[in-house]
Amino acid sequence: MTRPVLYLFDRLAGLVRRLGGDYPQFRAILEAKLILDSRRQGMFADLHPSRQKKRGAFNLTLLLFACMGAPVGATLLMVEPALMSMGTIHLFIMTMMTMSLLADFSSVLLDTADNLILLPRPVSGRTLVLARLAHIATYLGLLALSLSLGSLVFGTWKWGLAFAPVFVVALALSMLLVLSLAGILYLCVLRFAGRERLRDIIVYAQVVMTAIVVLGYQRVLPRLMVLAERRFAGLEHRGWAYLLPPLWLAAPLDILAGRMAMPQIIMTVEALILPPLALLILVRHLAPRFQESLAGLEAGPGGRFVRQAGPRRQSLAGWIASVVSRDRTGQALFEFLWRLCSRDRHLKMRAYPNLLFIPIAAFGIIAAGQRDLATALEQLPHTSKHLVALYVACATVPPIVVLAGYSDEYEAAWIFLALPFRRPGRVLLETVKVVGLRFVLPIHAAICALVLLVWGRCAILDVLVATAALVLVTVSLAYLMARRLPFSQRMGTGQRAGGFGGAFLHLVVPALIGVTHYALRPRPWTLVGLMVAFLLAAAVPARAIVRTEWAGIRRASQ
């Protein structure tokens, strides 16, 4: 991928220079990053130095996004005017890009891992910011293209070949806008509020975006469709329409569709001017002090965490370890991993945002089709919608076990190789236990409590079955995808890029289990059987994890 991307940016060299970047430096940084992305990095990377990393996760995400984008693209055929349908499509694509950016690429922009390599070199903040934006744009551009593939086909079919170039330029502009606004947000927060705030704000932004997406699909979009022709025929004549970026980007196509008027022209001008302006503000005014912010991001808090622990106070981790692990080795591993999981800077940042999906999605689905919330809540106990809440959790929580295999400080994992274990299975099993108890179970327990509160006693069996399913899914996922030593791999940009899309994939199996559960509900004894079956089945991957040999870990890590 490196060469075509560099070729593309070579065409934009003048732009980089005009923004105050040093193009040869920009190119060198981008090239190094793209080469690094194409190679796996981690504990066992040296076994096959020349082997190229499989970009499986990211390619799957692209495919998935293409499938998701196709029906949205069909809006073009069903909804008139073009301003409305194109606006919807751009809204969809921008939303997906923003989500992906927040979830997977924030850490690329704010990467501090190569501070010691880059900061002592004569690279200006502008060049560095531009190179990082370009790096992210490479992936974001591919995501946007696959999302818009359907629209591209439908649009070209409807309006002819002139559609494609206009649409692609609009896509580029929308990506520029999303990237620049995110960059402005991050750098402003970094400069004025500090790094701890920044992490909070990224998480808040993710919550807001997820809420917008789910509620948008549930409530706003269907109504918009119904009202589209009636009320939005004169969309462009409303003042607030000028504030909506998706409409600016849709305006040139509205013109192409033959509706040339003043509002469309103004919006087109907005689309052409405002995204570059955002980039200009970012690069001109915020980027020059970027390195200082990066250096600050890396610097420790300066001994603020010095805690005077009482002597011989047994910790929570130690107590849980003594309950869930039999021997001293297991307990020591559990306690150690528990602490690592609690303190790894990035694990939490990656784990929690995925979880935010649960309450929002569950709420969206539960409240769907109801006129107002009060009626919805009244009706709830008579429905089977608690299964939805339970299985959405079952789909979103377990993937955290995969995250535990990654860390930016992956080199420290040599310690597991140095310890006298015949098999690494023990370490893997304790890792699953820690992630399960530290992240998966508390969240699941909260959801179960909520379900029992609303549905009462009749939901007890359902909760138990769902818990068994959760155990099965978590352990299976750990066996299939996470047979790596904890914190032993570096998460490359390609894998990061697959993260957001990958979360969708884990939906399939829990959804099937959920449907089975629903189908068997009329006969409670079959549910008991199902629960027992799940628990027995979970023992199979669990045993397999314990029996993992060193060779198995190497294979899984390549």
Partner: protein, 272 residues
């Protein structure tokens, strides 16, 4: 492109000027007023116990760390105001092996060289030649991830010097190197100094500092507590070797007791 030694670079002003340098992390004061001048062509050994402030000083001087008090001028440029100008003229070999491990030495040096504005052919020529002299000519296209600590150190050394900087900051540059490479690097340092390059040498290896550096500054607890040539430090009646001088100045003494107490830790366990 690179500031090679030209007729106008025969300058007499100091390469490094530090005045009243203070730096705190939170409430902890790491540097408590450092004053230092390093003349061009001088090899300064900057030594001190762990946590004394050596790396902090270096990070400030190479323009990576801001938020300090006092003045730091390197190659005639104020570090706080013109960090890029400073970075163009210096080389830095960090203590930890900060490298893009997924790259090969050839790719990594190309990356670094391009950042410094060198032409590709020049980068390849210099890189290959320099690495070959350190005994790394066959591994040019292997991934750095497969390298031993010493091999990585060699890549770092070349990456720090290939743009021919005026001032070179070396933080424990010999760590992990084999004996042959150590001899070569020591000789390189001496020859660079003869060519008018200034070298700021941080290390814990006392006998190397003693031999390589023509001036030694000892820092302890954020202050410089001794400064002069090895002979001057000796003449001040501190001891025979630099190691002696160093330990006398920076610790309360009692190494034998410390070692004995260390070993005794086993006994306590056995009794329990």
């Amino acid at each position: 492109m690179t500031p090679d030694a030209g007729p106008d670079s025969v300058r007499t002003d100091p390469a490094i000027i530090v005045r009243g340098l203070r730096k705190s992390y939170g409430t902890r004061e790491v540097l408590r007023g450092i004053d230092l001048e390093v003349a061009r062509g001088q090899v300064l050994g900057y030594i001190g116990p762990n946590g004394a402030g050596k790396t902090t000083t270096v990070k400030i001087l190479i323009g990576v760390l801001d938020g300090f008090e006092g003045q730091a001028i390197v190659c005639g440029h104020d570090v706080a105001r013109q960090p890029l100008e400073v970075k163009r003229r210096i080389g830095y070999v960090p203590e930890s092996a900060a490298l893009y491990e997924g790259l090969t030495p050839r790719e990594y040096l190309r990356f670094i060289g391009r950042i410094h504005g060198l032409a590709d052919c020049e980068i390849d020529r210099r890189g290959a030649r320099m690495l070959a002299q350190l005994g790394l000519s066959d591994e040019l296209d292997d991934r750095i991830a497969t390298f031993s600590k010493g091999m990585r150190q060699k890549v770092l050394l070349v990456a720090g010097m290939m743009h021919n900087p005026e001032v070179l900051f070396l933080d424990e540059p010999l760590s992990g190197l084999d004996a042959n490479a150590v001899v070569v690097v020591k000789e390189i340092i001496a020859r660079l100094a003869r060519r008018g390059k200034t070298i700021f040498y941080c290390s814990h290896v006392m006998d190397v500092v003693e031999r390589v550096c023509d001036r030694i500054a000892i820092i302890d607890d954020g202050r410089i507590i001794a400064d002069g040539s090895f002979e001057e430090l000796q003449a001040a009646g501190r001891g025979e070797s630099l190691e002696r001088i160093f330990t006398q100045l920076t610790s309360a003494g009692g190494h034998e007791q410390a070692a004995e107490a260390f070993i005794r830790a086993f006994d306590v366990e056995m009794r329990a």
